[in-house]
Amino acid sequence: MNPALLEMVPVIGLEVHVQLKTRSKLFCSSANEFGAEPNKNTCPVCLGLPGSLPVLNREALRLAVKVGLALNCQISGRIKFDRKNYFYPDLPKAYQISQYDMPVNGRGFLEIETREGIRKVGITRAHLEEDAGKLLHEGIKDGSLVDYNRAGVPLLEIVSEPEIRSPEEAHEYLTALKAILQYLDVSDCDMEKGSLRCDANVSVRPKGETKLGTKVEIKNMNSFKAVQKALEYEIKRQSNAVENGEKLVQETRLWNESKGQTFSMRSKEFAHDYRYFPEPDLVPFTFSRAEAEEIRKTLPELPAARAKRLMKQYGIPEKDAFRLVQDKKLVEYYEACIAQKVNPKMTSNWILSELLGNLNEKGLSIAQSPIAAVDSAGLIRLIENNTISGKMAKDVLPEMIETGKSAEAIVKEKGLVQVTDTKAIEQAVEKALQANPKSLEDFKAGKRQALGFLVGQVMKETQGKANPKLVNEILEKKLKAC
């Protein structure tokens, strides 16, 4: 079979490491705090000093189970840790305390929004482990510096089943996962601060083939967009290789953002055999169903449930509902607007397209919106009651962002109140018709475009303030009468 005729299908799995926002580290009482002076938040335990011993932070376990429940995972009845042994300067004990064969959270799933609707992506497992320290190489002569503030910070490693079918879906998965974590308030999920990290595993295979292709791991992606781009690149690279009959190597590749490519990591001299064995310093213990149920009671309304509620309560379409819930701040903004009694469908449209569009242009997130929900509601109300047209509102919005003034104030100031007085519009229509006899002829001759032109002329005459709907109605009437 000619390889060039095969359609190559990607198989993607994602590994996400989330820092849990406990007050102290996973195995000691040193502060879990980002951005502190190097090595300030350390103690004999997280420094790995000889003789130190770990003690489990129960809050971290509770947060881990919370996530597991939200991801519909099987919660392990037995909590056990293992040592993962390897040498690196950011790993003070030369082993990481992790979970190997008995992760706290077993199989589960989450729901993502795709073009074909809502889909489930399986979660293989989610386990607790401690983070390593940070190495600094930049600008340091003859060596590196190590900061152990991060060593011992609790991580939850969430592994998806290899059920993600495209780079877009990967983006959706990450967005949906982040939303859940935000709703649970277990992490800041900030990729820039490293509280959320993602590695991807991707292989390709011909459509219809059940055997998996060679798997490549990709690291060093610093945003959801980067994950998507890296996967796009990698899938192309792998597909090309297969089509050219080249053999793919199972390896780890690093994403280079500036070059837009993945590069193979220098082959490591020693293959990693982590020699996992049960952590003898931590006694395994039972985690009862009752304890898990207690934690389940503390779960908030999660994104999927919230979306379904919004659809039911406000009649907004599934796609919009799912988009809104992906960012907790966004859906809160939305519901705050609705609380002002403006039309829910209009509001979701407005927020998703206009508001977010404007904010994105300025590089602002909804959390940073200079316009409060109450004020957005104010603007939407003006459209609703025909004070201004939708088109005019699109101009008012940037003004609101720039000046911080309310919609009402700007409309008043600029005299933007829409002209709905039919008499005034009739007058303007008359004027336009008289000034453009040719257009009248064209319209009569069957050229519909002439209508559009005339509407434009009427708008010009009214300095854009006429209600376009009324203009159309009145103009059509008049034209028919001519």
Binding site: G48, P50, V55, P92
Partner: protein, 473 residues
């Protein structure tokens, strides 16, 4: 005035309560200066650096010596290894905190086998320890320095550690009392780990009562050690005077084997007779999986050790060989920093944990360990205590067993099962060879039944008074 450096802990506490500890400290320091170079029992001893107690506590300032694998704030702690030269812990082990609370003076840090790997205290990077009873012979290991110091009068009492017999063997070889508590009885926080599921800190003393006094100070739950037992500590001195009448003592037949030294066997059997006269019941029992213990230990304990010693890499503290590349930093530091036996055990431990071998060695070893523990559980349904020898041989000569590691490993044959099962055991003097070398016997009890050991040990000790004989150093 009695020689104050030969006071027992009990006597010293009594004296110190009246007059303060200074005379005792001075006399002890004199003794170290006098015979220290012969025994090499101390790694760090400096009369000007003796850290006196700030509290009276139970010990009233009496000096205690500490094995050098226990973290002492501000005191270099090396585990007798080059790789930790210059490492000064910024924190105290929990037992040290407890000693300070208990009014102990920190006297000095004792020599040992490097990282506690050994049965003779010959693998120290700073010279072997010598047995005060015969300086050409080993004091046993790995707590040889602690035991030798107590035997030679260079210490009133000391702390040692026991992973496979490292308190009990030196106690037997030096003619002193040594107790390995139940696993979890004493906190391991601050103990530089060898075998995490085996290690325990325990007392090395001149008498059984002294050991009870020290145990009262160091035992107890520690939140910082997740493996420490959350159980109240009884007053161990209360159990000393309980009569042994009616106590059931078992002699496990697997511990009286062909090839063991006849003087040792005779000595231990004689002790059994003494117990009989005191009213105890003696019977034979069986611990059928005993012959697997050495193999299991040298798989499971060294596996844990190989992981525990990964952190000694020159990056954060201790010896660093070079700054050239990361690879060289690791390779050369660990090559130059670790001694032969340490390397041997790290390699062995790494091997048994490696892919393809984990199931056959480590996991299998842990399973057999369960069988060994069950042997003890079954035996303790029939008896209250087990009585066994401590060592198959009397103290051997320096260098005698260093050529074949396996021969050295077999020294632990009677002590190792105890650590595998996590039960408490004490070594105490039960006689001497014809050549005046000490012989020790071992009393083993159920988990957290140290009181039964103290009860039986004290009765025997008072009856036989072996502790009165001291080496002529």
């Amino acid at each position: 005035m009695p020689d104050v450096s030969r006071l027992t802990l009990k006597e010293a506490v009594s004296l110190a309560r009246e007059e303060g500890p200074e005379k005792i400290i001075e006399s002890l320091a004199q003794r170290v200066l006098q015979v220290g170079s012969k025994t090499n029992a101390y790694l760090h001893f400096d009369p000007d650096r003796i850290e006196r107690a700030h509290k009276a506590g139970a010990l009233h300032g009496v000096p205690i010596s500490i094995k050098d694998n226990i973290s002492t704030r501000g005191w270099e702690t090396t585990c007798a290894s080059k790789i930790l030269v210059g490492y000064i812990p910024p924190y105290d082990a929990t037992v040290i905190e407890k000693l300070r609370e208990g009014g102990a003076t920190l006297f000095g840090k004792c020599n040992m086998d490097e990282f506690a790997f050994g049965s003779s205290s010959e693998t120290s990077a700073f010279g072997p320890v010598r047995n005060p009873w015969d300086l050409e012979r080993v004091p046993g290991g790995s707590s040889g320095g602690s035991a030798a110091a107590v035997a030679s009068g260079e210490a009133i009492a000391a702390l040692g550690t026991d992973t496979g017999g490292s308190i009990r063997l030196p106690a037997a070889f030096c003619g002193v009392v040594g107790l390995k508590p139940t696993y979890g009885r004493v906190s391991r926080y601050g103990l530089i780990a060898f075998g995490s599921s085996f290690d325990q800190i325990g007392p090395l003393t001149q008498t059984v009562e002294d050991a009870a006094i020290l145990m009262n100070v160091i035992a107890g739950h520690d939140e910082r050690d997740s493996t420490s037992a959350n159980l109240a500590v009884p007053d161990y001195t209360q159990s000393l005077h309980r009569p042994v009448k009616g106590l059931k003592i078992g002699l496990p037949k697997e511990y009286f084997v062909k090839g063991m030294d006849p003087e040792i066997e005779a000595s231990v059997r004689e002790a059994a007779k003494v117990y009989k006269t005191l009213g105890a019941e003696i019977k034979e029992v069986s611990l059928p999986h005993t012959h697997h213990s050495v193999a299991v230990y040298y798989i499971v304990a060294v596996a844990e050790a190989s992981s525990n010693l990964g952190r000694f890499d020159g990056v954060e503290y201790g010896f660093r060989a070079t700054n050239s590349t990361l690879r060289d930093l690791y390779f050369e530091t660990r090559d130059l920093g670790f001694g032969e036996e340490a390397k041997r055990r790290i390699l062995l431990g790494t091997f048994v944990l490696s892919a393809g071998y984990y199931e056959a060695y480590y996991r299998k070893g842990q399973k057999v360990r369960t069988l060994i523990r069950q042997d003890f559980e079954k035996a303790f349904k029939e008896v209250d205590l087990l009585l066994t020898p401590v060592s198959p041989t009397p103290p051997f000569k320096l260098g005698e067993k260093m050529t074949d590691p396996l021969t050295m490993y077999l020294s632990d044959i009677f002590t190792i099962s105890v650590n595998l099962a996590g039960v408490p055991a004490m070594s105490l003097p039960c006689g001497f060879t014809k050549t005046n070398l000490p012989i020790g016997m071992q009393l083993i009890a159920q988990p957290f039944a140290e009181e039964t050991i103290f009860q039986a040990a004290h009765a025997y000790e008072q009856e036989t008074q072996w502790f009165k004989r001291k080496p002529k150093l």
